[in-house]
């Protein structure tokens, strides 16, 4: 079992592009750390530096407090599941899974025992003689997992392993990965661009953007207290609504003059951004603490079954205001709705897009 520590990891390419600007991260023993971010944010590069497929320009990488910066991938005792699975096409499933063990010189009968065990764990026992080409997408994915598991490595690395599967299989394999990881208790780093996958799998979540770590913490902590506007917009679907506001008399004012009584410490007259998730916009009639009521017009409806998303507009404002309504709600396009912010769930970001703590609610939450 292993702990993984990244200390100021920087990665610069010879062409002058810096992919990672000093990443600090601690992955605990048996923890499943999910790295999430948009494409090009450096998350795959980060994983490849952990694997040893990319060199580290600066900083220190340790596994179990042992510095591994200069070690070859083979010597790091890690296993990686690739996005395209990278199964050896000319080898049977058995040979694919036993390749690493053979390279290590493991005795034949032990290889057979371990591969058989792993195959049973992953429901692959019937497929051991097949070639990767003869398998379905989901089966290939399981073989790729099996190839990693059979080695009993210190660390698992997952590089978007589910992105080539269809939606249904993705949900199924997500649960499977979660179950296996908990059962085997192997320290894991999982890279994805899918925020749902990230939220559901992670023990802890790292949101990356432009080669920086934006925030790290448990999924719910990041969801409820996003440190930056980027994290707020990246997690949650549909995305958080952002409205430009100006600080005024200890609260903020919407561009149309609508005041919102949020206790934020921003100098008077300074511009800021108010963020509120679609589920935290509530019909005014049903909420007690709805201090400020907004009158909006429903312009479009997206019925999702359990919920209906209403795309509404506040008079005098460019931005959509997306509201999550109950699926049974009788809203029609063109209808007017009275909405209230759920104050405890509002976020204010300053002009640098960093979160500004709210005096009252934050204090309550900390108690």
């Amino acid at each position: 079992m292993a702990t993984l520590r990244l200390n100021g990891i920087r990665k610069c390419y010879p062409n002058g592009i810096t992919a990672l600007h000093g990443i600090d991260l601690d992955v605990g023993d048996g923890e499943l750390m999910v790295v999430v971010g948009p494409s090009g944010c450096g998350k795959s590069t980060l994983l490849r530096t952990l694997a040893g497929l990319e060199s580290i320009t600066e900083g220190e990488l340790t596994i179990n407090d042992q510095r591994v910066n200069a070690l070859e991938p083979a010597a790091r005792d890690i296993a990686m599941v690739f996005q395209n699975y990278a199964l050896y096409p000319h080898m049977s499933v058995f040979d694919n899974m036993s390749y690493a063990l053979k390279n290590r010189g493991t005795p034949k009968d032990e290889i057979r025992r371990r591969v058989t065990e792993t195959a049973q764990l992953l429901d692959l026992a019937e497929l051991l003689d097949r070639r990767p080409r003869q398998l379905s997408g989901g089966q290939r994915q399981r073989v790729a997992m099996g190839r990693a598991i059979v080695r009993e490595p210190q660390v698992f690395l997952f590089d978007e392993p589910l992105s080539n599967l269809d939606a249904k299989l993705r949900v199924q394999m997500r649960l499977e990965i979660r179950r296996l990881q908990k059962r085997l208790g192997v320290t894991s780093v999982y890279v994805t661009h899918d925020q749902v996958e990230a939220m559901t799998l992670a023990d802890r979540l790292v949101v990356m953007n432009g080669g920086h770590v934006e925030q790290c913490g448990t999924p719910m902590a990041l969801y409820e207290r996003p440190a930056t506007r980027f994290v707020a917009s990246f997690l949650g679907s549909p995305a958080m609504n952002f409205l430009p506001v100006t600080a005024h008399r200890g609260g903020v004012v919407l561009p149309n003059g609508n005041p919102v009584a949020l206790p934020v410490a921003i100098p008077e007259g300074r511009a800021a951004t108010l963020g509120v998730r679609p589920e935290h916009l509530i019909e005014a009639t049903s909420v007690a603490d709805a201090t400020e009521v907004l009158e909006v017009t429903v312009e479009m409806l997206e019925p999702l079954g359990a919920d209906t998303l209403a795309y509404t507009r506040l008079p005098g404002l460019e931005e959509w205001l997306v509201v999550r309504l109950d699926g049974a709600h009788a809203a029609r396009e063109g209808q007017r709705l009275s909405l209230a912010f759920s104050m405890a769930h509002c976020h204010v970001f300053d002009s640098q897009d960093a979160r500004v703590p709210l005096a009252d609610t934050e204090a309550q939450a900390c108690q």
Binding site: G52, L53, I78, A86, Y88, H90, Y99
Partner: protein, 292 residues
């Protein structure tokens, strides 16, 4: 076939006609003539001929020089195919790893293919000329007596080298393309799976190159059998003492130098059968080892 194609029944034939015409005139017609001629005995001036049944075949098959040529062909073809393919693979692997100036290397390595066989032959002839050759001079300084005009083994080695040099470029292009189509993630996965560079090459890269290698094996065999004629003719003319007379060269010698059309035609027919059989064998047995 869809309707628009149905209406143009003649167009495809017109488009293919030039190619078909060339194949018919330069391949099928001579081949059929050779088969016909193999059963006739003709006088030296080509004025009269008479049907002779299998006499030509019997004469060829009881001629010891024919077996000598067959042996030479075997050694020559094997050496050329193995040599040209392994050197090309080595060069392709190295060129694949080069990042700076890769295009220059690749272009330079392809050039020999553009050289005509006879010109390539003359080039090597100059380099190894016993009296004024550059390399033969160097070999002489090292105490190696080089005279391919007298030494049969050296003559064979020389035509083999020239033929390999010429064919290598062709193989290089195919091997390089195949190497570049091996997904990088496979090699990365193998590196993580504790396979060193040497083992990665033999257990991952090489098996994935096998379809290309098989294709090249067939092409190189055909090349060694037929297309090396120009090189052999300019470098050694089949000598000394028939040491570099391959089967195809003997067809030319007996037919166009010795004017024995019947014997030459019979040899052509045997050669066609031999190469056909070899290609069948390669597809039947070697292809099974190929990983597609």
């Amino acid at each position: 076939m869809s309707a628009p194609f149905q209406r143009h029944r003649i167009t495809p034939w017109i488009l293919m006609a030039p190619q078909l015409g060339i194949v018919l005139v330069f391949f099928f017609w001579p081949a059929l003539q050779a088969i016909e001629q193999a059963f006739y005995v003709e006088d030296a001036f080509g004025l009269s001929r008479e049907f002779a049944g299998l006499v030509n075949f019997k004469a060829v098959l009881s001629d010891p020089t024919y077996y000598q040529a067959a042996g030479t062909t075997l050694i020559f073809s094997l050496a050329v195919a193995v040599g040209a393919m392994s050197i090309a693979l080595l060069l392709a692997v190295m060129a694949d790893r080069v990042i700076r100036g890769a295009r220059v290397y690749r272009t330079l390595l392809v050039w020999p293919y553009a050289v005509a066989p006879a010109v390539a032959g003359v080039l090597w002839l100059f380099l190894f000329d016993p009296t004024l050759g550059l390399i033969s001079g160097l070999l002489g300084n090292m105490g190696i007596e080089w005279d391919h005009k007298l030494n049969g083994a050296q003559a064979l080695a020389l035509v083999i080298m020239a033929s390999i040099w010429k064919q290598m470029s062709y193989n290089f292009v195919f091997f390089l393309a195949a190497l570049q189509s091996v997904p990088n993630s496979l090699l990365e996965a193998a590196a993580i799976d504790r396979a060193g560079p040497w083992r990665r090459f033999w257990t991952i890269t090489f098996p994935l190159l096998s379809p290309t290698a098989f294709f090249l094996l067939v092409m190189n065999s055909v090349y060694a059998f037929f297309e090396t004629f120009g090189t052999i003719d300019t470098v050694t003319s089949g000598g000394p003492g028939g040491a570099t007379t391959t089967l195809v060269y003997k067809v030319y010698q007996d037919g166009f130098v010795g004017q024995d059309m019947g014997a030459s035609a019979a040899q052509s027919v045997l050669l066609m059968a031999l190469v056909g059989g070899l290609t069948w064998f390669q597809f039947r047995y070697v292809e099974k080892k190929v990983q597609y």
